[in-house]
């Protein structure tokens, strides 16, 4: 049975976030039903409103995942009256979220203490690269820098190569943690009636992703960059197959799974080989085993082998491109992939919810990316009660701009 409401139905967020990490956090909350009012302005256009030549996009985006589901209003926050209007939106919201460099919200007159004057039980999320305080709090950063500072970048890579740049997933992992913290604070507010301020540092999310290695480090123990290898499991790797750039991932946890793997690959002769017949032996001879696996899999069909291994109980999956994902019946059946309205591409897919709720209404991407200022009738008109003439005046003076 489905109730009509989404889990966060009725929760409203005043969204000052920019770039990727913060907007992804509020996008997650929007997927769960929160109403997100995104502030943007022609005075400082959001990245999605501009060309993005470095990535080959020569005009504004027609679809931007992190802005999907959101309402858009224009406010030129360089002007005092625009700041006052933003405060009026905060006053009727549950949450304010921002992702400027530490100190910017205060300069704008929109810091937590000020906003609490208009919304005494406000939950506010400040998401930044290094946090709101400390010697590095003024540092500017992007996702790869969070990965570098926090330690995830240095531990990722080929064991004999350089560290790896962690890209958008570093931003978005930070946004995920921000979304979680916000809902925890909402639950706390329901119990206490009090405000809460959440200070999230993206570089600390990077560190949280290597929390086990940091326990090792704190105990004075070395941590090596493992590449695709694993200390406990062998074989555990990514292997080339008969098709070009089609790699098969396999992780074998125990003797039973190893015997199953040998059966599927028709290499039963190795079942009694003393180099490989126990977990310890396989670990000790993992390089040799990897060499054999590379030979054995070189003539295999990647998808067919993955399927056969999975049916027999061995963890395997092809290293999938985004196109493979777009074609996947499993992800479509779960509505993880959804079609969105897009003028440039009617078949465009977006990534919806990783979860299916038994009672709440369907979560996920329910509408595409808003046009700049498209929701001002609702936000400035209905919610704030500004009439047409007042709005026109504010537009002429480039406050709503």
């Amino acid at each position: 049975m489905s109730t009509s409401k989404l889990p966060l139905s009725g929760v409203r967020i005043a969204d000052f976030t920019i770039h990727n990490a913060g907007p992804f956090g509020t996008h997650i909350l929007s997927q769960l039903g929160a109403e997100i009012i995104k502030f943007e302005s022609n005075a400082r256009p959001d990245a999605l409103r501009k060309p993005h030549a470095v990535y080959g996009r020569m005009g504004p985006a027609t679809f931007d995942q992190v802005t999907a589901n959101k309402l858009s209003v224009r406010l030129n926050l360089k002007k005092t009256e625009a700041v006052d209007l933003a405060k009026r939106v905060v006053a009727i919201s549950d949450i304010a979220a921002e992702s400027f460099r530490a100190g910017v919200m205060k300069r704008l007159g929109l810091d937590f203490e000020t906003l609490c004057q208009v919304k005494p039980d406000l939950v506010m999320l400040s998401l930044s690269s290094c946090g709101q305080d400390g010697p590095d709090s003024h540092f500017a950063g992007y996702a790869p820098l969070f990965g570098a500072w926090g330690g995830l970048g240095a531990l990722t890579g080929y064991p004999d190569g350089p560290p790896v740049e962690i890209r958008h997933v570093m931003d978005h992992a930070s946004g995920y943690h921000g979304a979680l913290a916000v809902i925890a604070a909402l639950l706390q507010r329901r119990r206490t009636g009090k405000p809460q301020f959440i200070d999230l540092a993206a570089r600390e999310v990077s560190s949280a992703m290597i929390g086990d290695a940091l326990v090792m480090g704190a105990m004075g123990l070395p941590v090596k960059r493992p590449g695709n290898g694993d200390i406990a499991m062998a074989p555990h790797g990514v292997y080339a197959t008969a098709q070009d750039d089609r790699w098969l991932t396999i992780a074998v946890r125990n003797d039973q799974e190893f015997l199953t793997l040998l059966n599927i690959l028709e290499k039963q002769d190795f079942a009694t080989d003393s180099r490989f017949n126990t977990v310890i032996a396989r670990r000790q001879n993992s390089a040799e085993l990897d060499g054999l696996m590379t030979q054995w899999l070189a003539s295999c069909n990647a998808e067919e082998t993955a399927e056969a291994l999975q049916v027999a109980g061995v963890c395997a999956h092809v290293s999938w491109s985004t196109q493979d994902i777009a074609n996947d019946p499993h992800l479509h059946s779960r509505k993880t992939l959804v079609n969105v309205d897009d003028t440039s591409n009617p078949d465009r897919l977006a990534v919806g919810s990783p979860a299916i709720f038994s009672k709440s209404a369907e979560v996920g991407v329910l509408r595409g990316t808003p046009d700049l200022g498209q929701d001002e009738d609702y936000v400035f008109g209905e919610l704030l009660g500004l009439d047409r003439k007042q709005r026109q005046d504010l537009e002429e003076r480039e406050i709503i701009f």
Binding site: L32, L155, G157, V169, S207, T322
Partner: protein, 394 residues
């Protein structure tokens, strides 16, 4: 059995909430860990042999008995042995569920019927419970019975195929794609499952209890959704081409740094950082599009310069000039970091064997409710024992 008194956690965001966790994998354990650190009472329901995560690498001892991963993921939780194949175990489980707000479980779908863990069986007995299933591919759909370790999940969710990128890929173009360190994809499943569980708690006054089916594959896919957006733009991303045209990872005289110059002013700052060299005065370098086209040439020059300077010198000067640059820090650097110490990122706690160590607390701070561990790393079944060393309120 002890009473669970929670006065010491009253001020935490999730104070008063109870979570039961059955976990084999890092995803579910991370979801429980996040909720425990936010103040919920999280009880690990373990088999008699203990959670498999107690044996998971990396290990703190040569005997492979002390898992650093388990320590990280279970600090602050409680532990109870609960064997669902026995009548006594089932009774204990039902007693615990009676008082729980959330039950999170990664038991494979095929095993749920006999153990009484199907959504239907749970909902009939506990209509107000938030029941979260977290599996590598979810509990419904054609691949619901597929199993996966982190290696498989991160490659099933597309980020694996796109790694490595930049300098690492250029260094070894013939090599295959790569997972990230540790349990990144599973942690996205975990943080999302916790988020979904709390959002269902929020709506419980309207919806009551419900069942939520979460997939780690889908969570890491959503985390990397930009690649799907690019596909809609007509561009299929590949690790060989997903790179910044110039900037990226550089080897210095004593380590690696990350340098990014997305804005024109940051490029100008980079030129100043390098002491305004002759090559940087060429006319074409004034045009951002031309710089992108000839990024390899630029990186060649930057590499030469970087190799002669130390990380600390480069990074401190770069930040002064407004050039985004960061050292690739090892775990030791993070542990000894001034910023981390200032913000209290680590907290001293007690391992199962009584040793003290520092463990990362949480990547967020709550101004009015400073987070803290509410207990150490739990010994197996400690909650069934009359006392626990170091336990508050016992």
């Amino acid at each position: 059995m002890q009473d669970l008194k929670e006065s010491h956690t009253d001020s935490l965001p999730l104070a008063g909430y109870r979570v039961l966790e059955r976990s084999r994998g890092a995803a579910t354990a991370y979801a429980g860990r996040l909720m425990a650190t936010l103040g919920a009472t999280v009880i690990l329901m373990e088999p008699e042999t203990g959670s498999p995560l107690r044996q998971a690498p990396p290990w703190l001892d040569d005997d492979e008995q002390q898992s650093a991963l388990f320590a990280y993921l279970s600090v602050g939780k409680r532990s109870l042995i609960c064997n669902l194949e026995t009548a006594a175990g089932k009774q204990l489980f039902n007693q615990q569920l009676q008082n729980a707000d959330i039950f999170i479980d990664d038991t494979p779908v095929a095993e749920r019927e006999t153990l009484g863990l199907t959504p239907k069986a749970i909902a009939e007995k506990f209509p107000n419970l938030i029941h979260v299933s977290l599996l590598p591919f979810g509990a419904t759909g054609p691949k619901a019975d597929w199993d996966g370790e982190e290696l498989n999940i991160v490659h099933a969710g597309s980020e694996g195929y796109l790694l490595p990128n930049g300098f690492a890929q250029e260094s070894f173009p013939e090599r295959g794609p790569l997972k990230m360190y540790g349990h990144f994809a599973e942690y996205q499943g975990g943080v999302y499952a916790a988020t979904a569980a709390l959002s269902a708690l929020w709506s419980a006054p309207v919806s009551g209890g419900q069942y939520i089916d979460v997939s780690s594959q889908a969570a890491v896919l959503l985390c990397g959704a930009y690649a799907m957006q690019r596909l809609g733009d007509g561009s299929l991303e590949h690790r060989a081409t997903r790179k910044f045209r110039y900037g990226g990872v550089f080897k210095t005289a004593d380590g690696y740094i990350q340098l990014l110059t997305l804005e024109d002013r940051q490029w100008q700052g980079t030129v100043e950082l390098m002491g305004n060299p002759e090559w940087a005065k060429a006319e074409w370098l004034q045009d951002p599009l031309e710089r992108s086209r000839r990024g390899d040439e630029i990186n060649h020059h930057i590499r030469e310069w970087m190799a002669q300077h130390s990380v600390e010198d480069i990074v401190s000067k770069a930040q002064e000039l407004g050039v985004p640059a960061a050292k690739y820090r090892n775990p030791e650097d993070v542990i000894a970091g001034e910023q981390e110490a200032f913000r209290g990122l680590f907290e001293t706690t007690t391992l199962e064997n009584g040793q003290q160590t520092e463990i990362l607390l949480a990547p967020f701070r709550f101004k009015f409710s400073p987070l803290h561990f509410t207990g150490g790393v739990p010994a197996l079944n400690e909650l069934a024992q009359p006392t626990r060393a170091g336990d508050i309120n016992t």
